[in-house]
Symmetry: C2
Subunit: 143 residues, 2 copies
């Protein structure tokens, strides 16, 4: 893991996790995501399907939006520390959308000798529309 | 969406959602996933990193495991119907792992005129180890 270790003692409730700004979504990215995930629903890759469904073209995979939401956690504390991720899907993404993920620590607690932080997450589009609202739980090391 | 419409009236608590068996995970798939998601942590793509971390090689992205878990829902009722997905990460995946996702309807209810089904999900490896335990909520049409 490349990131700096984040210690439980140094994280306060209300802490704003470093935000993640993704590169604009591209149609090629959705093709790559289809291949990587095995989710070949043509609404994500075939323009005519997206048009027929009323989106004016392809839309992004919801699971990709979810992965973006999770990335704020894995970039911050590492994948190994992330124990739980929960998302509510609010809106679809489209090519050229720029997704920003923000997060705040909502709770700290120790259980069975492990140090947990709960976080509230939000992923928004360039126009401010929420695409994902979520929660995450991570276990952090103590000093 | 290619799948057949699933109606609220036809789904009973305890219903077993058609299981999804993924193709064996490949190292190339993880490279594709890195490119698609933008998560380039080398533990997923560079053998030496995985060895150094004690895994004997690369490991799969947790978000890919999560996407697999979600696929049982999107294959069953479509992405549009899936409103909420929550997962707990239990174990890592490795290349050649064959992941099977199973799901059961745990609750049915109507709120604000919408018909919800809650489902319990589990993703297991070929040896039975749990990699993901999760919950999902979908909104289904009425007849």
């Amino acid at each position: 893991m490349a990131q700096k270790e984040v210690y439980f003692e140094d994280v306060k409730v209300g802490y704003e996790i470093p935000e993640v700004v993704k590169d604009p979504i591209t149609e090629t990215q959705l093709v790559m995501y289809a291949g990587a995930s095995g989710d070949f629903n043509p609404i994500h890759t075939v323009h005519a399907f997206g048009e027929k469904a009323g989106f004016g073209g392809v839309i992004g995979h919801g699971m990709l939006s979810m992965a973006f939401a999770g990335q704020i956690m894995t970039d911050w504390v590492g994948a190994k520390a992330l124990k739980k991720l929960s998302v509510q899907f609010r809106a679809v993404t489209k090519p050229k959308d720029v997704i920003t993920i923000k997060g705040t620590v909502s709770k700290k607690y120790t259980e069975d000798g492990k140090n947990f932080v709960d976080c509230d997450l939000i992923a928004i589009k360039q126009n401010g529309d929420k695409i994902i609202v979520g929660q995450a739980t991570a276990v952090l090391p103590a000093k």
